[in-house]
């Protein structure tokens, strides 16, 4: 780790102000990704602005048609939330299978989506469920938020404040966890919201989360699991690593999509 200045922000404005006055400030949420990055000296921010005390960034609210989750809400809180488990059980299940208990009790939805790890679960959850990402400056659809591997539409200093999920008609998430890290080798969120069917895939692509058009077409309005299973996904532009080849990942996309569709019913 290199040296840095540490600041605990007391409010959103305080956090944003601290970030903008720093040479190279970084927000600190659960620290599950950022701290290991610092320890390995892969990043050298001048300042860390800790969001832990910004109380109104955490929490879950239900406004009838949508559920809004504050950026600092931990994965464990989402997994156990009564509102989420009853209204969007697919999202609660997704959060409940991130990493391990330690990671779930520290890691946050804001940190996860800001980081946009290509193997993270929330990006698939957000895109599949057609969520809106809310920042201190604007609101934008999840599909426009996740731009590339570890890249988002966030501008310098822009703070994610919440994510709003419309309540789907049907949804389920199916994940093939990496047997070591438990990140997704492939994860697919299949959801139907207001008549639209989506299949959002994480873990597989070289450019991060994406909607699988051929799978969505096969699923159709009836969420046809058997049809999804038959789709031969192309391995072009898919990740290959020591755990799974691009071909295996391509295969997983149709299987996991099919299983998610069957679970969504």
């Amino acid at each position: 780790m290199y040296n840095f200045n540490y600041k605990k922000a007391s409010s959103r404005d305080d956090a944003v102000a601290a970030q903008s006055s720093a040479d190279d400030g970084s927000y600190l949420a659960g620290g599950m990704t950022l701290i290991p990055t610092l320890k390995q000296r892969l990043a050298q921010p001048s300042d860390l602005i800790d969001l832990a005390d910004v109380g109104d960034l955490a929490g879950i609210s239900d406004d009838g048609g949508a559920i809004t989750i504050g950026a600092m809400t931990t994965h464990a809180t989402v997994a156990e939330s009564e509102v989420v488990t009853s209204k969007i059980p697919a999202l609660a299940a997704l959060a409940g299978h991130i990493g391990d208990p330690q990671v779930r009790n520290r890691g946050t939805i804001g940190g996860s989506i800001a980081n946009n790890d290509p193997a993270a679960d929330y990006p698939a959850g957000c895109v599949g469920l057609n969520a809106t990402i809310i920042t201190n400056k604007r609101e934008l659809p999840a599909e426009d938020f996740f731009t590339d591997l570890f890249e988002t539409a966030l501008e310098e200093g822009e703070l994610v404040t919440a994510v709003s999920f419309p309540i789907p008609d049907k949804a389920a998430y199916a994940k093939f966890p990496n047997p070591a890290s438990r990140y997704a080798i492939v994860g697919v969120m299949v959801a139907q919201t207001g008549g639209e069917t989506r299949a959002a895939v994480t873990g597989a692509s070289q450019s991060g989360v994406f909607r699988a058009a051929d799978i969505e077409a096969a699923l159709g309005s009836g969420l046809d699991a058997a049809a999804a299973k038959e789709v031969k996904v192309s391995a072009d532009n898919l990740n290959a690593d020591i755990h799974a080849s691009a071909e295996y990942r391509a295969h997983l996309i149709s299987i996991m999509a099919s299983r998610a569709a069957a679970a969504a019913g």
Binding site: P179, A180, I242, S245
Partner: protein, 749 residues
């Protein structure tokens, strides 16, 4: 004692180290600190194989904050032509393992170390060391290392009269296999490979070493043997052992991986040169790159049987990776594989192969799971070919008292048959299986061991008991020893404190390894407690003024016996302790033994799996292990050993493996990429303890810690075969590999 109505032996008493561990107070090596302490960091080789042309440490030495630099020049050189054995190690290899000499032999091989006022400065200074290498071709896998044109790691080591990467062989012979196979109606021969896997202890290697101005040295370290640490450090730094006090820190797992030193001699030289205490802690990456995993292997096993179901001959060849320096567990593979069976003709060969990967270290029944995987897989096929139930086939050939084993011994009383019978009778063996599910069985053997152990049993002034033994406790030995001491002395186990002594406070005790600790240390404690009881009776006799022979020790008190019975009120431990000064002084005795009579451990496993036909995932649904545990002195710990062994076997069979990249570097040197199972991957692992007490041991103890891993790889592979009709001869059976085999069965090979 086996006949006694035991009060404490057989109780799962509260573990003495529990409260400290759950409250974070247990002191591990990395927790230790000293005034003036500085930090050591290791420069490691960026190449898999290279000759060291020059090494210039001057810039590192001049770097602000740096207090000392050491290289191989500071470590004692044991010339390669003269073996210097220490236990199962050879100091020729040990000195080259802790610090590269003529050549770097694997990526991550230590080259130099720096001590500085902070860990960061030490790491920075390492980068200032200027190295010049002549990079050499390297070789990683066994099959490549034994090719005629393979790059040779050690020119001076020859096989068949030529420099070779084959650096050792071992052979066991019984009967005449050629004659045996001539009688066989069914002969099955198969080849297998397994991948190297790491022990996966949670605590990385760590130590703190202080060399005082007069040379007196104290070492706190995470190891499986403080006496091993003392001996190796003394030899590698040219110090008398009497100048070194090695203190065993609480240990966060070892599984065999902490039976050698990596850091201690280096930290000692850094401390000596700098005059400051030096702490060194490996990162997880260092652990994975440069500490010992167990061997990968390549083996061929051939078994012949008559059509009426008699196995007449068995042959096995087991090539094991030693890593960069000789010394793989070929004895475990070639010796244990056939050891469970009464087979008249056996020929078993182990072959040690070096290649450019980190030197292997012991791992739970070293080598034995590799041997068992091959042998038990072939046995399964033999049973299938003969149409005999696989447990029945094992039962018919099960070694029992009097059976002569190919690796040497004629067995005394052993409980192998009992494990198979219990498995056959168990409801698990008859439970129905669903679609894509399969059941496999396998058995296994581990030598177990005795050897040197010491203990001291002291009575405190208030009549309680402190027992000191010499073995780091990695499997519950303190709890078990408390039970034994309480039983012997007839007192509540809570009145017994069991501590692990350091090299200055307890007599020589060999490693925590070989499933030997409770076996050997219980003998030393029994001997010491016996002497204590004799003394207690003598003191009571003195108080009563009667003959010591007329006093017995029962239920924690001295009672007058014989003619004097009932004449005096019994004297408790506290009563006698209170008068110790007047009756002859402090009460306590020790024993320093070279124990014998350790007997082999046997286990039989049943495993059910389900295969996800779309994904290739093998899921273990149910697992029951049956083991002759001798005497379960502390059943919860024995059960834990059995479960732990199986869990490690599941990892080894299904997912774990070292993966090397194209430059000869480990590509998965951390738990984000090294695939170890966690609790949520496993079902409840049922453990059936079968007690056939070891008659050669006062409490009936047999080692229990290692054999639980031995059958697991084969039991799982046999279950997969049962589910799919496909035999995976190469581990791990990871999902992509299983899926490929479902689509194309030859991919299972």
């Amino acid at each position: 004692m086996n006949e006694m109505s035991n009060k404490w032996i057989g109780q799962s008493t509260i573990r003495p180290d529990g409260a400290e561990k759950v409250t974070g107070r247990a002191e591990f090596a990395a927790d230790t600190n000293m005034p003036g302490m500085i930090w050591g960091s290791v420069l490691r080789s960026p190449h898999a194989h290279a000759r060291i042309v020059s090494i210039d440490t001057s810039k590192a030495e001049a770097h602000p904050g740096v207090k000392a630099v050491v290289t191989a020049q500071d470590i004692v050189d044991f010339p390669v032509d003269t073996p210097v054995p220490l236990g199962i190690q050879d100091m020729r290899w040990m000195c080259r393992n802790i610090m590269a000499r003529e050549k770097v032999l694997f990526h991550g091989h230590p080259l130099a170390a720096v001590a500085a006022t902070s860990e960061a400065i030490a790491a920075e200074a390492c980068k200032l060391i200027e190295m010049e290498y002549e990079v050499l071709p390297w070789v990683i896998e066994i099959e490549d290392a034994i090719k005629p044109d393979a790059p040779i790691l050690h020119e001076y080591l020859e096989h068949d009269g030529k420099p070779s990467n084959i650096t050792g062989t071992l052979e066991h012979k019984l009967g005449d296999v050629e004659e045996g196979f001539a009688q066989a109606d069914v002969i099955i021969e198969r080849s297998f490979t397994t991948r190297p896997v790491h022990q996966g202890y949670i605590e990385p290697h760590a130590c703190l070493v202080s060399v005082a101005a007069d040379g007196k040295t104290t070492i706190w370290s995470s190891s499986q043997g403080q006496f091993m640490v003392r001996a190796m450090t003394a030899m590698l730094t040219d110090m008398p052992q009497s100048d070194i006090r090695a203190i065993p820190a609480e240990i966060g797992g070892g599984f065999g991986g902490k039976t050698i030193v990596y850091l201690e001699p280096v930290a000692t030289m850094l401390s000596k040169k700098s005059g400051r205490p030096v702490k060194m802690v490996m990162s997880r990456e260092d652990v994975m790159r440069a500490s010992g995993p167990t061997s990968g292997s390549m083996s061929t096993v051939k078994i012949g049987a008559t059509k009426d179901g008699q196995i007449v001959a068995a042959e096995g060849t087991f090539y094991l990776q030693a890593g960069a320096l000789p010394g793989s567990p070929i004895r475990g593979a070639a010796g244990c594989g056939f050891a469970p069976y009464n087979i008249p003709n056996v020929h078993s060969v182990g072959i040690d192969v070096v290649s450019n990967r980190s030197k292997v270290a012991a791992y739970r029944a070293p080598g034995a799971p590799i041997g068992a995987f091959a042998v038990e897989s072939v046995l399964d096929e033999v049973a299938e070919a003969l149409n005999i139930d696989p447990l029945e086939l094992r039962l018919r050939h099960a070694a029992r008292e009097g059976t002569k084993a190919a690796h040497g011994p004629t067995y005394p009383l052993i409980g192998f048959v009992e494990t198979i019978e219990a498995a056959i009778e168990h409801p698990h063996y008859k439970a129905p299986l669903g679609k894509h599910q399969g059941r496999g069985v396998a058995s296994g053997f581990w030598f177990n061991a005795g050897g040197e152990s010491s203990a001291q049993v002291n009575i405190t002034e208030d009549g309680n008991v402190v027992v000191t033994t010499g073995h780091p406790d990695i499997g519950g030995s303190r709890a078990a020893i408390a039970n034994v001491a309480a039983e012997l002395l007839g007192i509540d186990y809570r009145r017994v404190s069991v501590l692990i002594g350091d090299t200055a406070t307890v007599g020589y005790s060999n490693l925590t390894g070989g499933s030997r600790v409770l076996f050997a240390s219980a003998m030393a404690v029994t001997d010491s407690a016996g002497q204590v009881i004799t003394t207690l009776c003598e003191r009571a006799a003195k108080i009563w003024d009667i003959d010591p022979d007329a006093v017995t020790w029962e239920d924690g008190e001295a009672r007058p016996a014989g003619d004097n019975a009932g004449q005096f009120e019994p004297l408790s431990l506290a009563d006698i302790a209170a008068q110790a000064t007047q009756t002859g002084g402090p009460i306590g005795h020790g024993a320093q033994l070279n124990t014998t009579g350790a007997q082999g451990g046997f286990a039989t496993h049943i495993c059910d799996v389900e295969v996800d036909m779309d994904l290739g995932i093998v899921k273990v649904l149910r697992y029951t292990s049956f083991q002759d545990v001798g005497r379960a002195v502390h059943p919860a710990y024995v059960e834990g050993q059995m479960q732990g062994g199986v869990a490690q076997g599941i990892g080894w069979a299904l997912n774990e493996e070292y993966i090397f990249d194209k430059d000869g570097h480990v590509d998965n040197p951390g738990f984000l990429d090294y695939r170890m199972p966690v609790c949520s991957d496993l079902p409840m692992l049922d453990a059936v303890m079968i007690e056939v007490p070891n008659p050669a041991h006062p409490q009936g103890v047999r080692g229990v810690g290692e054999v639980p891993l031995v059958p697991a790889l084969a039991a799982i592979a046999n279950a997969v075969h049962n589910a799919l009709g496909l035999r995976f001869s190469s581990l791990p059976m990871s999902p992509p590999k299983v899926l490929a085999a479902l689509e194309m069965p030859e991919a299972a090979e």
